[in-house]
Subunit: 217 residues, 2 copies
């Protein structure tokens, strides 16, 4: 190709990455309604984001719209799913098979978005050696050896807060490169390690607080 | 009281609300280690947030630190848990008992942070009339009547994207005041309705993208 597409040269901003799944789900909806094309103006009207912002976000993805008609829906879906990494499976380990950890193991939906949990680690003797939805639970001590063999790069962290940092350190020492942190604990990692914090509790706190304000009015 | 505390007059900013659970989990860890007092400087060192930011965030909460020693750990935990709404249970309904919805119903951990799912709604005849972890699943048609009786204000949205907006509209029409949206769909609600978006898929997208950048290097 003579022209280098933008995505090859620029690091895509995180807010853009977070918005792209909205456009993807909107495109899927359009497809279901039988639409062949969708414009940024149409998406804008439906999800309440500036059309120019949408066009700018989509400029990071390797797709171009046609004047007046917009983006081809099928192509937009395919390009976005590829770009977001939802079409190929990324192997992951889960650490801590408690209530939330167990729930995530049972959520087969994650694999539709590219995450395949291939093993879990815990120290509870009642859990070690068992499986959840076919996913084996190993003793935490087995992690390093297994990882070297499996080549897993992603770790899902669902341990109690008092061992969150310890387990993170073990993960990193053992070769994990990205940590999806579900604990309400702010973990410390070397700069080269990717961290995504999904704190359900922080979202609850915001929701309760805003709800109280409404009720007080 | 002669002095009105700050939290009575100002709306607490969302970034502050999102950081408070970090301080809470840090205080819990300090307590476990036998510490009686913790200063913002200590918290700062551990979780890598500016001490002045921490002090500012905590000024929204009804607690004052003592010079040199800092905040009393037990009190800090109690005040934060109260303030964040984790100590009293907020009743909620869940909409859509699919893979993620079912997983959330099984996550008893949510109740430790103040969310009690008291019922779920679906239209799947194989699910309606059954229970998950003791939580009854009703037909979606029963929602309005049940809500009027139960006084539930929070709705957890885990339906497929093609009905996300429809179900949201039903929830709002039926009296739900806060929607915890787990779908990758950007829902539209009236201004008075609280929405928290927890898109696991957006977090996955960011993680995959950043991981790819590292691997490419």
């Amino acid at each position: 190709m003579a022209v280098r597409s933008r995505k090859m040269t620029d690091k895509i901003p995180e807010p853009t990455l977070r918005r792209l799944p909205w456009y993807l789900s909107n495109a899927k909806l359009m497809k279901e309604k039988g639409e062949k094309y969708v414009s940024s103006t149409q998406i804008s009207r439906q999800i309440n984001i500036d059309a120019s912002q949408i066009a700018k976000d989509l400029s990071y993805v390797d797709i171009s719209g046609r004047t007046r008609v917009g983006y081809e829906v099928d192509l937009l879906i395919q390009v976005l799913e590829d770009f977001l990494g939802f079409t190929n499976l990324h192997k992951a380990y889960l650490f801590g098979v408690g209530s939330l950890g167990g729930a995530l193991l049972r959520d087969s939906g994650l694999s539709h978005f590219g995450l395949q949990i291939v093993g879990a680690f815990d120290i509870n003797p009642n859990l070690v050696g068992t499986t959840v939805e076919g996913i084996p639970i190993y003793h935490t001590d087995e992690f390093e050896e297994r990882r070297a063999k499996d080549g897993v790069k992603i770790g899902v962290l669902t341990v109690p807060i008092n061992i969150a940092q310890d387990i993170t350190d073990k993960m990193v020492a053992g070769g994990i490169q990205a940590v999806w942190n579900f604990t309400p604990f702010r973990i410390r990692v070397p700069e080269t390690i990717v961290v995504q914090n999904t704190s359900l509790y922080a979202h609850l706190a915001v929701m309760f607080n805003r709800l109280n304000e409404i009720i007080k009015k």
